[in-house]
């Protein structure tokens, strides 16, 4: 029983990370209907920036805030400079651009920061009254950080004018232009937000899995599974999907298929969702008039 609970709780902790990666994917999917394959590598690169800042003596939360800000700006810049020219291009062109970005960020991270595995500090104390045998203070802390991110995003989309404009641009770009919304900039903002969310996820996962240029490749796969399972157009579904994937992965890994085959869980979930329920658990079926 003890062991089972342990597996579930650590699954929930992982689920937080998968959920935030899924959320970043959903952010971009909602407005562009593309999956950003470079999301993971962008997050890794952001985490390296945080690492470099901390190495040069910045306090943790200062480095955290600076990294989020830099990632946001970089996300906006990537959309404006690299993706805007292919906005109207076919899906395949965009996919190639995403793969290009993936390779570029992966190689840049290796080139600038080297491929040696680095430890990344956790901002949360090793021992705390709240921690227990089931989960560490870092698990709790990163869950809290992710909930803050979610809450902030919700408030942003629900209560601010720009948030409303972004939703309108994602729902119906044509009509959004007719009320004067600069739709292309809304896409750029979406990229900025996704990059910032990815950076937070990267900084939260790095203390657990250690930092190297390929840190996020497996996690992106779980995040992708989470987003699909929850419904690729539903932010809440993405987060819930994250928890489900996290727990499933741990339980199946511990009791059924063994830890070596854990990543298969993500792939099976992806294939399973796409064949049995393509809109995910909480996604909307798209009905189009033809």
């Amino acid at each position: 029983m003890e062991a089972l609970l342990h597996q579930i709780f650590s699954g929930l902790a992982n689920g937080c990370i998968y959920g935030s990666v899924a959320l970043a994917l959903v952010m971009i999917y909602q407005s562009t209907h593309h999956i950003n394959f470079a999301q993971g590598e962008m997050a890794t690169f952001s985490t390296f920036i945080a690492w470099a800042l901390i190495q040069s003596g910045w306090p943790y939360w200062g480095a955290f805030a600076a990294t989020v800000a830099i990632s946001f700006a970089a996300g906006v810049a990537i959309q404006r400079i690299i993706l805007r020219p292919v906005e109207k291009a076919p899906v395949l062109t965009n996919v190639i651009v995403f793969i290009g970005l993936l390779v570029i960020f992966n190689s840049l991270a290796g080139w600038i920061f080297e491929h040696t595995i680095k430890s990344f500090p956790s901002p949360f104390p090793q021992d705390s009254a709240l921690a227990s045998v089931y989960f560490s203070a870092h698990d709790l802390g990163s869950a809290a950080v992710m909930l803050c991110v979610l809450g902030t995003l919700y408030a942003f989309f629900r209560f601010t004018k720009i948030g409303l404009g972004m939703r309108a641009a994602a729902l119906n770009p044509e009509s959004a232009r007719l009320v004067g919304i600069r739709v292309s900039w809304m896409l750029a903002l979406g990229w900025g937000l996704a990059a910032a969310i990815g950076a937070v996820a990267g900084m939260m996962v790095a203390p657990v899995v250690y930092l190297d240029p390929n840190m996020m490749s497996g996690i992106l796969l779980y995040g992708f599974a989470a987003a699909l399972l929850g419904g690729i157009d539903n932010p809440w579904g993405a987060v819930l999907g994250g928890f489900i994937v996290g727990v499933l992965e741990n339980l199946l890994g511990a009791y059924v298929i063994g830890t070596e085959l854990k990543l298969t869980v993500a792939l099976v979930l992806i294939v399973g969702t796409l064949t049995l329920r393509p809109n995910g658990l909480f996604g909307k079926a798209v009905v189009a008039r033809v």
């Binding site: 409303l164 729902l171 119906n172 044509e174 009509s175 232009r177 007719l178 009320v179 919304i181």
Partner: protein, 237 residues
């Protein structure tokens, strides 16, 4: 009367297909102008050309500014509100969010709030349904929302694409009554595209009749209405 809009040699089309073959028309400030014509005559395309949502050439001078070549969102910012075919409301957003979006480019928060209250006074049904998703409204309510959404811009010019489309006659009469009110009370100039010629001519001061991308006929509405030959040939009543 000064001209609010002057269109000269306007051509527009989709890809290789040209729909407007050089049309000229003007619109006096504070008036209601109608564009009539059969299906495929280019009525909707004319409105799209004014908003620059379709490839255009020629000249469109609105309030002293050339619109051809401008981005749609910048045309809107000059005070051109468009209620497109299909109404252009955001079905997944609430009624109130739709109204707030209509005022997206405005900076005067207090003015926006009072305008929303004003819309609710004009359309009490919208107030009842303020929190409801716009997609769940009836056709007439959606048209009222679309018009209110456009008015939230405080436009100088309101473009309407077939406001009568798919609505019951009673609802249509109500909407046309409100359009006249908007024109008279708020001084908004209106350019109306309609298939229902009789209705449009009753409302408009002036009308243009489009035929396969050209202006076939133009003049004051009452003159067109009186001319029996024109009515038979073009308007079918």
């Amino acid at each position: 009367m000064s001209e609010l809009l002057e269109v000269r040699g306007l051509t527009a089309g989709y890809g290789a297909t040209q729909v407007l073959n050089g049309i000229d028309f003007e619109l006096a400030a504070g008036r209601i102008t109608a564009i009539l014509g059969a299906n495929g005559a280019g009525k909707t395309t004319t409105l799209r050309a004014l908003c620059q949502t379709v490839a255009t050439a020629g000249s469109i001078v609105f309030d002293g500014q050339q619109l051809v070549g401008k981005a749609t969102e910048n045309v809107v910012r000059l005070g051109v509100a468009h209620v497109p075919d299909g109404r252009g409301t955001f079905g997944a957003l609430s009624v109130e969010e739709n109204l707030r979006l209509g005022a997206y480019v405005r900076r005067d928060k207090a003015g926006v709030a009072s305008d929303i209250a004003h819309m609710y006074a004009r359309f009490p049904r919208l107030k009842e349904r303020r929190g409801q998703q716009a997609g769940t409204l009836s056709g007439g309510e959606q048209q009222m929302l679309a018009i209110s959404r456009a008015l939230m811009l405080r436009p100088k010019l309101l473009l309407l694409d077939e406001p009568s489309f798919g609505l019951a006659p009673l609802v249509v009469a109500e909407i046309f009554r409100i359009l006249r009110q908007i024109n008279e009370d708020d001084g908004v100039s209106i350019l109306l595209v309609e298939q229902n010629a009789r209705l449009a001519l009753d409302l408009a001061d002036r009308a243009y009749l489009l035929e396969t991308g050209r202006v076939a006929l133009s003049g004051p509405s009452d003159a067109i209405q009186r001319d029996e030959a024109v009515r038979r040939a073009y308007l079918g009543y």
